[in-house]
């Protein structure tokens, strides 16, 4: 193999794929990056068997070929080089990658490409769906955080991704809260389908495509065992979680007794303040919803926390409260998590009782719904 490319482009591509390199693996080849030179481009790929990332860059290929080398060594060496042309060469029959750039050179020992897992590519296949990259990142940001971080119920560590006609819906629930976001696709899917993608993988997808513009192609492999995403020169692959996601639509309360509409920013600031005291009391943040008595006084929300030994705090927010006076307590982290991913200026909270789920919705936007189960405390 012999290939020449720009140091800057090679470094950027390495940074992309490095996120998929296995941190600790018993398989040495998973700590490596696969280099493949063919037809005017150099392709890099890495995988930890959970996800895989590949990136291509333009290159002058004098001789095609493949090899895997340690990702950390190659990345560190390439990043140290001046912004100039880099030549990568492997002598026939050798397993050593010779890197040269300007007056520097290095020899990096490798592992044969045949030992590297085979990674499916979108290639010429028709994608399952196509979505605007900014929208995909926003959806992931609003949903993936609500997935479970432990694997006690594997499906809950995933995000349900549902393609239904021209609607794409994502949902995640860690057992205590549920986040649901939907969006319209430009074109309907050929066949309705739903998959469960590990939440960590989706967050990695959003990160690897953080600077992507335009659309992203999504493809669910025919065996429904992998999700592929492609944006320009970057391709992403994730394994899928097998299993049934809970019927999340059934657990979203349809009715409420008390509904409050409040400024999202003010609510978020109050929730963050309350967390300071809540941390010494099981994270309990208490909300009191107080209806007003006239048009002029629409009502208020009191956000408070108290810890027997540390102290207490309270924020009074003016709000529009419909329905009877009510109170409810939530884990302060759940509260600040949802308020910080919402985009609208105002947020609505709907509740029926201190023992039942609270529903958070952006005002004037039906594409996002978040449900949090309350905490039952002694004095409610």
């Amino acid at each position: 193999m012999q290939v020449t490319c720009q140091q800057g482009e090679l470094h950027r591509a390495l940074a992309h794929v490095s996120r998929a390199v296995a941190r600790k693996s018993t398989l040495p080849v998973l700590s490596n990056v696969l280099l493949s030179a063919q037809e005017g481009q150099l392709r890099l790929a890495a995988t930890n068997l959970e996800i895989a990332i590949a990136a291509s860059l333009p290159a002058r290929v004098a001789e095609a070929g493949q090899l895997t080398v340690r990702a950390d060594l190659l990345t560190e060496f390439i990043s140290s080089l001046p912004s100039d042309e880099v030549t990568l060469r492997i002598e026939p029959g050798s397993l050593t990658l010779a890197v040269s750039c300007s007056y520097s050179k290095a020899n990096i020992k490798g592992i044969p490409a045949e030992d590297f897992p085979t990674l499916p590519e979108i290639g010429e296949q028709t994608p399952t769906a196509r979505i605007e990259s900014g929208l995909l990142r926003e959806m992931i940001g609003q949903v993936a955080f609500a997935a479970a971080t432990d694997d006690s119920r594997p499906v809950l560590a995933g995000v349900l991704v549902e393609f239904q006609g021209s609607t794409l819906t994502m949902a995640a629930a860690d057992g205590f809260r549920l986040s649901v976001r939907s969006a319209e696709l430009d074109e309907p899917v050929a066949e309705d389908l739903s998959i469960i993608v590990p939440a960590r993988a989706l967050q990695e997808l959003a990160r690897s495509m953080a600077d992507a513009e335009g659309t992203i192609d999504l493809l669910v492999t025919p065996t429904r065992s992998q999700l592929l995403a492609r944006s320009g020169p970057v391709e992403f692959l994730s394994r899928l979680i097998d299993g049934h996601f809970p019927e999340f639509r059934q657990i979203i309360p349809k009715t409420y007794n008390t509904r409050v509409v409040v400024s999202r920013e003010a609510f978020l600031a109050a929730a963050r303040r309350a967390k300071i005291f809540a941390q010494s009391n099981n994270e309990v943040v208490r909300l009191q919803l107080l209806p007003g008595d006239s048009e002029l006084d629409p009502g208020a929300v009191i956000v408070s926390a108290q810890a027997a030994e540390a102290g207490d705090n309270e924020d009074l927010l003016s709000a529009r409260v419909e329905g009877p006076k009510a109170q409810i307590a939530f884990n302060g982290r759940y509260l600040s998590d949802v308020l910080s991913v919402m985009k609208s200026a105002e947020v609505a909270l709907e509740m029926t009782s201190p023992n039942a789920a609270g529903v958070f919705r952006p005002v004037g936007d039906t594409t996002f719904t978040h449900v949090i189960m309350p905490m039952v405390i002694g004095n409610i």
């Binding site: 629930a173 057992g175 205590f176 809260r177 549920l178 809970p246 657990i251 009391n281 099981n282 994270e283 309990v284 027997a308 030994e309 307590a329 884990n331 023992n355 789920a357 449900v371 189960m373 309350p374 905490m375 039952v376 405390i377 002694g378 004095n379």
Partner: protein, 407 residues
Amino acid sequence: MDAQRAVLHADLDAFFAAAEVRRRPELAGKPLIVGGRPGGRGVVSSASYEARRYGIRSGMPIRQAERLCPQAVFLPVDFAYYRELAAQFRAILSDLSSLVEHLSIDEACLELGPAPRWPEEPAAAGRRLRQRVRAELGLSVTVGIATNRTVAKVAADLAKPDGLRLIPPGQEATFLAPLPVDYLPGIGPNAARRLRELGVRTLGQLAQIPPYWLRVVFGRRAEEVHQRAQGIDPRPVTPEERAPKSIGHERTFHRDLSERSEIRQALRELSEKTAREMRLEGLQGQVVSVKVRFDDFTTLGRQRRLARPTIDGREIAEAAVGLAFELLDEWRRPVRLLGVRVSGLAPLAVQLALFDPRPLRALLLLRALDRLAARRDAAGASSRRPGTALGYPVGPARLLVSALERR
């Protein structure tokens, strides 16, 4: 020199017995013993001053008290009622000072003002407190006032019952000097005996001898005890947290228990009682400890931290039974007393789950049981059936318990 502190020590007189007389005035003037049932194996919790004349003291086995004073009136302990009175007592104390340290249900010390005018102001505060407790609670309280906690406590002990004693600044050592050594808090019967062996009988003598002599009796505390005997005690009054540190119950049995099934049942009852009290206080707890006293009076304890905080008597019982059986496996003796205690207390906070209704269901059932139990308690002792010292399983509550067990 700085302005002298004024510390007031307040102690309700024969509290449980006085509380019983308060609601049953016909008992006034009679020897009254609260705690356990006659013929039983409990101990005296509180005795009226009339009973004390017969030599009856708190902590004495009921049987011994019966022998000393067969004509005494024996009453069971009614903690709920005493707690209610104690709360009112605390409210009165908190009007007097913001620095109140509660030493027990019926005893507290408090710091009066930043620079009280001795002796008028402290004396007036003491008189006011005694008047209010009499007028509002119908109880008598003894007050000791001095420049520190130790001297105020000893003054109150000497003024009992229904008295007030004030030791002016500068007279602390003179006041303590003639008193026997065991009048000083912190000197128990053992230390007193060893001091006698050294020829030390009064606090005055104790204050005279060099502190290093006292090391053999008090170890590291020697210096401190020596200071206290001279009437010096710089400890501040520290208001404690409102929340209790632990909640528990114990029981001495009519006859020693050897059967595992009986021991398990007793621990379940104690656990349920403890859990119910925790829920009443709005608390959850995470550390379960058991106390086992064998027939030879060997008393041992064990504790275990649960994976999650609980308010459920069954979870407490499960841990308690496991711990007690470990001790029984080692000791293989009949059991005289069992105790269950839960610590690691924090305000109740149960996170409900989206797909699992069990935490909420369990909570609602426990609350329903608590309401039933409260109603039954309100109906009075007459409806209490024998053999159901355990808070619940009577009538409809039994159905709820079995529903709970099926969850």
